[in-house]
């Protein structure tokens, strides 16, 4: 009997097990804890003897270098890619701007009893956190612009976005929160979501991390309702839209200085890296641009990111900027 079962298990690993035999094996495994244990032990040894990939392909030293760099970096700081004076400037200027504009418009609105427009821009290579008059929080990514009226209208809280922003909306069902971007209108009550709609890109992507939103656009025949972990992608070139299921928490990580790519094309990876560091990166080889990679960058510098990508993809890169800023223009091509 035992011998018999061992042969079945062997066939399972060898993928030559028939469906009746499989049935028998499942029954046998369910019979006792001891049988289960035997199976687990055999699978263990089979796994150890038949690795999914060659052990020589695992480079412990490279991995060690990566780990050491990460642990030496110590605590995960905030916006690391800004130099200290930019950080200081951001800390001082943004609240100052908000307060002075608020005071200014407040005075004006009292005098004129009218709504005024507020506009906030995140300079390229930086991102900015804003608190809106209703207590909602918005993070504006590099080169993006958000505008809204102060105060919000009584009936709705309306904002206009160009670029990318993450919204953490204070709940208020009576006054819907609306984001308008490039013809799309997103209605929320209390939710967290990311909107990626740079006019220079072809895709408009809305990713819902919490709650529920309603999407309207002239291109859509009906309103589309979205739940948690759903992602709405509209391709402005083809005018086709799709809704996917994703891990939404990954899409707002940029606001913590973390770049996460899951099976993303090199083209898109470089696009995002370029935006984050305010440089131009062009991928010369179209086939290369379409290759997909996974990567996570936490507080790495531009040089470190390029180096890491060079180690894992068949690429080389050249700095082609001018003397003053040699890294402003980067060309990526296939490694020979």
């Amino acid at each position: 009997m035992k011998q018999d079962i061992e042969i079945l298990i062997a066939r399972l690993f060898n993928e030559t097990l028939s469906s009746e035999e499989k049935e028998r094996l499942v029954v046998w495994c369910g019979e006792s804890a001891e049988n289960k244990q035997t199976f687990a032990r055999m699978k263990n040894i089979w796994d150890a003897a038949h690795p999914a990939f060659p052990a020589q392909d695992i480079h412990v030293d490279q991995a060690e270098a990566k780990i050491v760099r990460k642990i030496r970096k110590g605590k995960r700081g905030q916006i690391r890619f800004l130099v200290w004076w930019q950080r200081a400037a951001a800390v001082i200027v943004v609240p100052l701007l908000v307060v002075s504009l608020y005071l200014f418009f407040n005075r004006q609105s009292k005098e004129e009893a009218a709504f005024s427009r507020q506009e906030i821009i995140a300079p390229k290579g930086t991102y900015t956190q804003i608190t809106l008059p209703d207590g909602s929080t918005v993070w504006l990514n590099s080169g993006s612009k958000l505008s809204y009226s102060i105060p919000f209208k009584k009936s709705k809280r309306e904002t206009f976005l160009e670029g990318e922003a993450f919204f953490d909306v204070k709940a208020n069902p009576k006054r819907p929160f609306i984001v308008v971007t490039d013809g799309i209108s997103i209605t929320a009550t209390g939710t967290k979501f990311n909107v990626d709609a740079y006019l220079s890109d072809t895709l408009r992507t809305i990713t819902l991390e919490e709650g529920r939103v309603l999407i309207e656009s002239p291109q859509l025949h009906k309103k589309t309702e979205m739940d948690i972990n759903r992602q709405f992608v509209w391709n402005t070139n083809t005018d086709v839209y799709n809704v996917y299921t994703v891990d939404a928490s990954l899409y707002g990580k940029w606001k913590e200085g973390i770049l996460i790519f899951r099976d993303e094309t090199l083209e898109n990876i470089f696009k995002r890296v370029a935006r984050t560091f305010n440089v131009d990166i062009s991928v010369k080889d179209p086939a290369l641009a379409k290759q997909r990679y996974r990567a996570t960058f936490e507080q790495e510098s531009l040089d470190e990111i390029l180096e890491l990508l060079r180690m894992s993809a068949p690429i080389r890169y050249d700095f082609n900027g001018d003397k003053r800023n040699p890294k402003k223009i980067i060309e990526v091509s296939r490694k020979n």
Partner: protein, 207 residues
């Protein structure tokens, strides 16, 4: 340092020794000793990546990501962490959790589902005695070293270097029949030597 486990069946004595030494290792970790941390990294990294590979199969990059995160997490939580099992058990469990998370995210149906069907999710009982790739390698090497030189040579040329019987025979200037015999003897020797924990695997691999 840690006593190397050579077989799946760790006797009580050895496991006591192991726990004792591991306590010292953990104490040093808590004090922020990077050398000890890197020692653990070197000792377990490859095996853990291969272990992750048993769940996520072909995605080596993800497997490496997961194992690296387990180590980073150990380092950043080293002061507060309490490890009730052995370090090996802790690592295996953490890597398995990381892999299962990944499976949940990627929603791709994989061969792993088969094993879950057989075992349910409780494989915990095995972690302490889990045989790592390097354990197997070590044991095999030991076995090879213990056998007569002639057998070992023929066996290695065939199984490790991938030479055909005819080529080996020409190389060693003996008949093909002799090579056949030597490899057969080598297998028999190994089967006996390794019988305590993988008699049957050789039966699968070589018969």
């Amino acid at each position: 340092m840690i006593n190397r486990e050579n077989s799946g069946n760790v006797s009580n004595q050895i496991s006591f020794l192991l726990m004792y030494d591991e306590q010292q290792i953990l104490d040093q970790l808590k004090e922020g000793d990077e050398d000890i941390f890197l020692f653990l990294f070197h000792k377990y990294y490859k095996d853990l990546v291969l272990f992750a590979g048993t769940i996520l199969s072909d995605r080596r990059d993800i497997c490496e990501d997961i194992v690296q995160n387990v180590f980073l997490d150990l380092w950043s939580r080293r002061c507060s962490i309490s490890i009730k099992t052995s370090l090996k058990g802790f690592f295996l469990q953490s890597v398995r959790n990381g892999c299962l998370d990944e499976l949940r995210h990627s929603k791709v149906v994989r061969a792993h589902a088969d094993y879950v069907a057989f075992l349910g999710n409780d494989m915990d009982s095995l972690t302490e005695q889990y045989i790592l790739h390097s354990d197997l390698e070590f044991r095999l090497k030991e076995g090879l070293n213990a056998m007569p030189e002639e057998y070992r040579q023929a066996f290695e040329l065939n199984r490790i270097h991938g030479l055909k019987y005819r080529e080996i025979a020409a190389n060693l200037q003996v008949s093909e029949r002799t090579i056949e015999e030597r490899i057969g003897k080598a297998l028999k020797f190994l089967r006996h030597y390794l019988r305590d924990f993988f008699l049957w695997i050789l039966f699968l691999l070589y018969l």
